[in-house]
């Protein structure tokens, strides 16, 4: 069974610093994989290689059977990978609706003549509103995106990524800085995205969210994978506990 | 052979002068990420103030001190009144402000002192040196000595003092430096003081070297030094110095010695584009 996303022996060295060392894991379509680890574990670096920000020093990334490492971000989007950003990046002076429409144009941008056509036709606006409804932002459609509060901006990021109809969704700390109700809302949204068959890879510091949402977990520490498996199993793994709490904590736990 | 040596030494001198002007620009860019085109106006102002004080007081050291003071005041004034409030806007905003300042200051110099070229007949406390077959005039010696002293001073401040450490930290990451308790506002102003002072020294040296002080003397350096900080690696003072020396030597040798019919001033930009193609981060730039 071919996985949606397959990472093999991925490494990233920044000079002498081995940020990520020989990490491998796979992600199935329609499942959620949580990438966790203490600070400096290399999760963000790993994530950035998958999303095309960094080129791996060695190893390979296969998306739907095709090599995707080293491709520029806009190619990733074309292949069907959508992502959010840890520090939200709205298109601030555009309206919320236009933020979504801009993501709907992915095919138009590639067409030689298509890119000169008017955007925002009725059909596109309708589709954009449907997407906004999914994330509960429909009433904000004509507001300038830059004015929205953080929780709504995070939902906007997800809506924008969803507009690509992605097969793989990369969530970069999308739950950080949110209040409890917002976390609940976002969790059920992510769950429904998974139901549609999209694969989701998320990095999270919020352990509760990561553990409850994910179908499987990969734990990194000092750039290496130290555990992989179902959330309950991983949370009882002594190496994982030690990585987070230190040796004393691990001994205390056992 | 003599001619070659002579031209080489001239070229290095020109390079040193470029280095003096450009290092101030590199410092400012390093800390504020602003292309401080008006720096060239401060350089011209330095030449005028230096000349004026020298003509009145007859003392070159006094002239230099007065010039450095005047330029520092103007430099910090520009930073506080124009650049700092505009930091939150896209980079072309402070850049246009800087260009407007360059134009304005040049005009003020022209209106105040006239559009003609003034001579700067200063007697320098330096001897004539004989280096083998080549004679170095006192002015040339002055350029070498003063530049080396200034560059040494900059290096010393940067690497051996707390101020230098704070400056380097601020130019790496201003908000973080601020959070670490560094008084970034004072560091920024100090950077402008240092940069403007070196510009003042450069202005006086150039005025004496070419025996010319005129309002638009900053125009060509304004844009050449921009190319130089790109070639050197934006924000890198050693890079700026290296690029400056290389350009000074190339300009003088290629055009003065080899007589290649290229417009002298375009060489800097051609070099810049070539460097950008081959090594986008500049000669000594980071990343």
């Amino acid at each position: 069974m071919s996985k949606l996303l397959q990472i093999d022996g991925l490494s990233k060295h920044f000079g002498g610093l081995h940020a990520v060392e020989n990490v491998s894991f796979g992600l199935e379509a329609g499942s959620i994989l949580g990438l966790i680890g203490p600070n400096g574990a290399g999760k963000t670096t790993c994530f950035n290689m998958i999303s095309g920000v960094y080129k791996p020093t060695s190893g390979s990334i296969f998306f739907m059977g095709r090599r995707s490492d080293g491709l520029p971000p806009h190619r990733m989007a074309l292949m069907g990978i959508g992502r959010t950003f840890q520090i939200v990046r709205p298109l601030a002076s555009l309206t919320v609706l236009d933020n979504i429409i801009s993501a709907l144009g992915i095919n138009r941008y590639q067409q030689f003549w298509g890119r000169w056509r008017r955007y925002g036709a009725k059909a596109e606006q309708k589709l954009a509103m449907e997407i906004l409804e999914k994330v509960d932002l429909a009433d904000r459609c004509s507001q300038k995106a830059g004015l929205l509060p953080l929780g709504e901006l995070r939902r906007l990021e997800i809506a924008r990524a969803l507009s690509l109809e992605p097969k793989l969704l990369l969530l970069d700390e999308s739950f950080s800085g949110l209040r409890h109700e917002e976390i609940q809302r976002l969790s059920s949204l992510v769950g429904s995205i998974r139901k549609n068959g999209t694969g989701i890879l998320l990095i999270e510091h919020n352990m509760k969210v990561a553990m409850t949402l994910s179908d499987s977990i990969v734990v990194l520490d000092h750039g290496c994978k130290i555990a992989e498996g179902k959330p309950e199993a991983v949370s009882r793994n002594p190496q994982v506990i030690e990585a987070y709490l230190g040796k004393a904590g691990a001994e205390g736990a056992s | 052979m003599e001619l070659f040596l002579e031209q080489l030494l001239n070229g290095i001198a020109i390079g040193f002068i470029y280095a003096l002007i450009t290092s101030g620009l590199a410092l400012v860019y390093g800390i504020l990420r602003i292309l401080h085109v008006a720096h060239a106006a401060i350089y011209a102002l330095g030449a005028y103030v230096g000349l004026g004080v020298y003509l009145v007081a007859g003392n070159l050291f006094l002239a230099m001190a007065a010039s450095m003071a005047a330029c520092s005041i103007v430099g910090v004034g520009i930073e506080k009144l124009v650049y700092f409030p505009l930091l939150k806007y896209p980079p072309y905003v402070p850049l246009i402000g800087s260009i407007a300042l360059l134009l304005g200051i040049e005009e003020i110099l022209r209106l105040a002192a006239g559009p003609y070229i003034h001579a700067f007949p200063a007697s320098l406390p330096f001897p004539q040196l004989q280096l083998g077959p080549v004679t170095l005039s006192p002015v040339l010696v002055a350029v070498y000595v003063v530049t080396l002293c200034v560059l040494f001073g900059l290096w010393f401040i940067s690497t051996k003092t707390e101020l230098g450490l704070a400056m380097r930290a601020s130019s790496q990451d201003l908000p973080v430096a601020d959070a670490m308790g560094i008084n970034t506002s004072r560091i920024i102003s100090t950077t402008f003081v240092i940069g403007s002072s070196t510009a003042a020294i450069a202005g006086i040296l150039v005025g004496i070297y070419f025996n010319q002080v005129y309002p638009t003397m900053g125009a060509v350096p304004a844009y050449k030094t921009l190319a130089l900080i790109v070639v050197g690696g934006l924000g890198s003072v050693p890079g700026a110095v290296l690029a400056s020396i290389l350009l000074g030597v190339s300009e003088t040798l290629l055009i003065g010695y080899a007589n290649i019919p290229l417009p002298r001033d375009a060489l800097a930009f051609i070099a810049m584009i070539a460097v950008l193609m081959w090594r986008p981060q500049g000669l000594l730039g980071r990343r």
């Binding site: 806009h74 989007a77 | 407007a100 209106l111 190319a227 986008p280």
Partner: protein, 295 residues
Amino acid sequence: MGNYVLTLGIFIAINGIVACGLNIIVGYAGQISLGHAAFFGIGAYTAALLATKAGFTFWMSLPFVILVTGAVGLLLGLPSLRVREDFLAITTIGINFIVESLFMYVPFFGGALGIGGIPRIVFFGIKLREGGFLTLSLVLLVVSLGCTWWFSRSWSGLACFALREDETAASSIGISPVMFKLVAFMAGTAMAGVGGGLYAHYMRFISATDFGFPVSVMMLSMVVVGGIGTLWGPVLGAIILTVLPEIFRPLTDYRILLYAALLLMMIRFQPGGLLGEGSWSRTLLSRIFRGGVSR
């Protein structure tokens, strides 16, 4: 007196066309270009050379002017737009200097003496003098504005806006930064070329110094003063900055200083331009017309 006003109008129109082009690059796509005058010059020289050396009429050379300036824009834009923002400003200044040097020193372009004897534009047998030329220029200005408006409503325009707002976010939704920066750049340079063609046929004599860096600064000032990224901003800027030096003409000695001071005040206090969001003029107008100002 009548002719003087007409001449002023012609320059406003030509500057407006070139400023519209720059607005696409700087205002829509968010790329700094401080070398726009180079393309103004390339358009002018193309028209001049085709007219004097190949006997082309303005109408025949117009498509070539657009093609050549667009092509050079592509050529120079390709390496330049890959570099970081700060580099781009300096690179475009460099392009301006190098192109100006080429015009100055390469004999084919007439060297320091430039190119003279460019014929008037003939429209259906009538040689266009002041009035006719103004009409033509205004028509082309309207066409430029129309193209700009169309651009802002197209997917290309939306892609450029996205790039301007946040390049990283834009590329994550499939917008290739290099591609669309180039598209905007070429659109802008082609427009500048058209302005250049008009300029050549009006002045009937051009030389390298007409297209130096100060001209680029003037053009950017027009866009900035008028309102960067707005449709009418460049035109307003062109009007203000073409008329202003004329108003200051009596104060010949203080002209440049006043211009610099005004530019400084403008950029310091109204960086968004007169038509930009939140500017004094817009808030004033919206107070007068209660219901708010539409763009």
